[in-house]
């Protein structure tokens, strides 16, 4: 029989209690209460239950139009992104298209060139003073210069901005297709079209469904594209929330719209989880073979496929190429779009490092992103260690609590935080956070926790349990074992996630726009303000330089996280 031990406060136990209290406070203060507060602010006003906000919303033409626009954008975007995304995967991985490696690089530019920077790049080409618009206007004087505005412009920009998931997940699914199934179908006399539609594409269906739902959610909560190219007539929910949130009297309306986004996101993610649970098609082949590129046998279709592939390539690459090119030109050239050899200069780059007003947003974003990514890494490491040890209800509550931001849109989280902490709260030591420099840091931390938790937990749980047993057997204490044995093994994963988080936060606009401190404008918000005044060539130059610098940082991060890792893996084979 086990002896009953007397309870005593050992340093380990005190640490345990302190960590438990921290997580309970963190989840309540930042993840649960602000969102509940948003719900309450919609249904309870002056201490009474009310549906007044619903009535207000229904009678608000602007709000209803934004809802309608989002409900039009999300499904249409899912279709266009799905079509383009599948095309990209087929072009790069399935069909024998000449120059596929270069095409793949072009299609993957969205991985390093996204968000507000990408939209501003498209605006530089297709906007009122854009290169193409100017060109068209010269050829056809009656050409409407505001042609790239509204629903079609948003749809176009977002279609080509949202294929990153396809290039990562759907491409992986395509690579896992067992080529022997294709050969078996060929052997039975199936046509290329039949093989594609009946053998290959069905294998991709689960991944395709998952990325389509992610696209739908992105469409529903679109921010930068409608703000920059939506014009007056095509504003969607998030920009509308932003407008309403800026005015205290219309904040309940903002909260209701954010709730709508939240409910829609939860429903869609629940569907996605169900699809994930149903699982992927597993190859039953004993000796799996990799896909051999299929030459399109019909010569006309083959030519058309090549034309289509390169047209897509141009759409992807031109904005990036022009942004890079014009970042090295003077303001006059940017304004006239007329390139000569004498146009090229390094002045834009020099001035960005000389003028405090120019480099400050960059410094602010780097500081915020680095601090937030560090906090996230530490919080999640501690959480994962607890989850590894505690497989009980408390562990479950901790995990689900930390995953809350994964289920809710950024806008709702941001709104919840700013409306909750605009008054002193006891658990926040009676401090007001809204309007301070801290709140954006908190926002940055909480939005990155779910992704970090999922990835770090996977690394933690893949550790061989006997490593810890071996260390304990040799007398090592839990903390010593963690620091010397476990952490060094998972450190590459932790650093990779840190880099991805840092990269993702660097150009953030969606969260920052709600929370930034006017004296510490982050890069995303600053670029948006620069892009608003389209005619100012100096601003455009600054935007291009930021874009190039961010692309370099992203490319380095991507290389460190994926490129180098792949090389190491290959060398092991």
């Amino acid at each position: 029989m086990k002896e009953k031990k007397k309870f005593s406060f050992t340093p380990e136990k005190l640490w345990g209690i302190a960590i438990f209290v921290f997580f309970a406070w963190f989840i309540f203060a930042f993840l649960v209460f602000p969102n509940l507060n948003t719900v309450v602010s919609v249904f309870y006003q002056n201490g009474h239950f009310t549906t007044e906000v619903f009535t207000k919303l229904i009678h608000s033409t602007k709000a209803m139009r934004s809802l309608r626009n989002s409900l039009i954008l999300a499904p249409t975007l899912s279709i266009t992104v799905g079509f383009i995304g599948i095309s990209l995967v087929l072009i790069t991985e399935y069909f024998d298209i000449k120059g596929a490696n270069i095409l793949r690089l072009g299609y993957m530019t969205t991985l390093i060139y996204g968000g507000i920077i990408l939209v501003s790049g498209y605006k530089f080409i297709y906007g009122k003073t854009g290169i193409l618009t100017t060109l068209f206007a010269k050829i056809i004087p009656s050409f409407p210069i505001d042609w790239f505005e509204g629903y079609w412009a948003v749809l176009f920009v977002m279609t080509f901005a949202c294929t990153s998931n396809h290039m990562i997940f759907l491409r992986n699914a395509m690579r896992s297709v067992d080529f022997q199934t294709v050969e078996a179908a060929q052997n039975m006399g199936a046509s290329q079209f039949r093989i594609l539609t009946k053998v290959v594409l069905p294998v991709l269906t689960p991944s395709l469904m998952a990325v389509t739902i992610l696209t739908f959610i992105t469409g529903l909560s679109a921010t930068s594209a409608p703000l920059l190219v939506g014009g007056q007539d095509f504003q969607t929910i998030t920009p509308m929330i932003l407008t309403f949130a800026n005015n205290v009297s219309s904040r309940p309306l903002a909260a209701l719209l954010a709730l709508f986004l939240g409910v829609a996101t939860i429903i869609l993610l629940t569907i996605m989880i169900q699809i994930e649970k149903r699982g992927h098609y597993m190859s039953v082949s004993k000796v799996k073979t990799t896909i051999v590129k299929q030459k399109i046998r019909n010569p006309i279709l083959n030519v058309l496929a090549h034309v289509y592939a390169y047209l897509l390539f141009l759409i992807y690459v031109i904005p990036v190429a022009l942004v890079v090119l014009f970042s090295f030109t003077d303001s006059a050239t940017i304004a006239s779009k007329h390139l000569t050899l004498s146009s090229f200069t390094l002045d834009n780059y020099i001035s960005i490092f000389q003028k405090a007003s120019s480099y400050k947003p960059f410094v602010v974003s780097i500081a915020y992103s680095a601090i937030a990514a560090s906090f996230v890494a530490i919080i999640v490491l501690v959480a994962c260690r607890i989850l590894q040890k505690r497989k009980d209800r408390l562990g479950g509550a901790l995990e689900y609590g930390l995953l809350i931001p994964w289920l809710l849109p950024t806008t709702l989280m941001a709104l919840g935080l700013i409306t909750t902490y605009n008054t002193p709260r006891v658990w926040m030591f009676n401090k007001v956070l809204t309007g301070t420099s801290v709140i954006m840091l908190i926002g940055y931390i909480i939005i990155k926790i779910p992704f970090t938790l999922r990835m770090t937990k996977a690394a933690f749980f893949s550790l061989d349990d006997s490593l810890e047993d071996a260390a304990r057997n040799m007398g090592a204490k839990p903390f010593y074992t963690f620091m010397r044995v476990q952490l060094p093994i998972i450190l590459p994963t932790v650093l990779a996630i840190f880099a991805l988080n840092f990269n993702g936060l660097l150009g953030d606009y969606d969260m920052s726009v709600f929370m930034y401190h006017p004296l510490n404008k982050p890069l995303g918000v600053y670029i948006k303000s620069l892009t608003d005044s389209e005619t100012n060539a100096d601003n455009a130059a600054l935007t291009f330089v930021y874009a190039v610098l961010m692309m370099i940082i992203s490319a380095v991060v991507m290389y460190l996280v994926y490129g180098r890792g792949n090389k190491v893996d290959k060398s092991k084979d």
């Binding site: 086990k2 002896e3 061989d464 006997s466 490593l467 040799m474 007398g475 093994i489």
Partner: protein, 338 residues
């Protein structure tokens, strides 16, 4: 030296170990053998302290260690996966336990190098990452790491199970050699009967959380105490009452055809009667498998299929349909209550 008395381990409502009693002698190579889920690893982990028994005591040299923390038991352990720390060098792996003990750096270096020599790892190999070593070298690192802190006992949990057949045999020999060299009391867990028979001084055969038999390898094999042990160790023929009556075994004193009767394959002979074989019958060859060192015949007599192993002495092989003489000694029959 190690004494387990009335040990019971329960996981929720499942009783993993029921009244386990073992006495392991100083310097002995003692093996826990049994199929998956029989309780052998649970018993080992109870000795090392990773599992607390719900009843019973574990003692070493008469000292009760049932509730002694893992790190204070002075028991080294080699894990199934070796559990070598992948981010550390061979040297750092072996030094880990000594560093935890906060030993002087120079002392650690001396001990690690010395231990390395004992397990045939030179200073160059000590500098390598563990992933750069072969399977055999990794095993030696795991053993060195377990032994460097000078434990009284070493426990090995299926350390050869992940290796291919050839390497397994090679490392088995190395392991036996190391154990002899160090003379340390060793507790070994395996599900491989051949491994247990060749390595051990004594074996405990586990089944469903209980010990079926403890004995020397030859005792376990030739005088299996229970029907389970008899079936689990080696290949065996179960003799039907018809076969026993047909060959006259039912009239031999001590043979009870109502019991479950078994005989080992190599204790029956085809066309080569031994001096002790008092019972004979004609049988028809149904099939044979040629293994090089020996031949396994499948013959049929009195409606029963019998398997026989014959040493390959270069004689002509008997083909399907050949009639042969099958002989055996009824004293080799092992009988168990049904």
């Amino acid at each position: 030296m190690i004494k387990l008395e009335h040990i019971e381990v329960t996981f929720g409502s499942f009783k993993a170990l029921k009244d386990i009693n073992i006495d392991i002698h100083e310097g002995e190579f003692f093996t826990f053998l049994g199929p998956s889920g029989c309780g052998k690893t649970t018993t080992l982990r109870t000795i090392t302290g990773f599992i607390s028994p719900s009843a019973g005591t574990v003692s070493v040299r008469g000292k009760d260690i049932t509730h002694t923390p893992i790190e204070k038991r002075n028991i080294g352990m080699v894990f199934q996966s070796y559990a070598l720390f992948p981010t550390m060098t061979v040297y750092e792996n072996i030094a880990f336990g000594l560093q935890v003990q906060k030993m002087d750096k120079e002392e650690i270096r001396k001990k690690v190098v010395e231990m390395g020599k004992k397990v045939d790892l030179n200073e160059e190999q000590l500098k390598k990452k563990v992933s750069e070593l072969s399977g055999g070298q990794q095993q030696r690192v795991a053993i060195a790491r377990a032994l460097v802190t000078n434990p009284e006992i070493i426990c090995l949990d299926e350390p050869l199970s992940n290796l291919d057949a050839k390497l397994r045999v090679q490392l088995r020999n190395e392991l036996k050699d190391l154990q002899k060299r160090f003379g340390i009391t060793t507790v070994y867990v395996t599900h491989d009967q051949e491994e247990a028979l060749t390595l051990s001084d004594r074996i405990a055969v586990f089944n469903k959380g209980v010990i079926e038999q403890i004995g020397r390898p030859d005792e376990i094999y030739s005088h299996s105490a229970t029907e389970f042990v008899c079936n689990f160790i080696g290949d065996i023929n179960r003799l039907t009452p018809e076969f026993l009556a047909g060959t006259g075994a039912d009239k031999v004193e001590g043979v009870d055809p109502k019991k479950h009767c078994y005989i080992r394959l190599e204790r029956m002979h085809v066309n080569e009667t031994m001096a002790t074989d008092t019972l004979k019958t004609e049988a028809v060859v149904e099939d044979y498998e040629f293994y090089g060192l020996y031949i396994k015949y499948t013959v049929r007599a009195f409606g029963q299929t019998i398997k026989v192993i014959e040493k390959n002495s270069g004689k002509t092989l008997y083909k399907k349909g050949d009639t042969v003489t099958l002989s055996y000694n009824p004293a080799d029959i092992m009988q168990y209550e049904g």
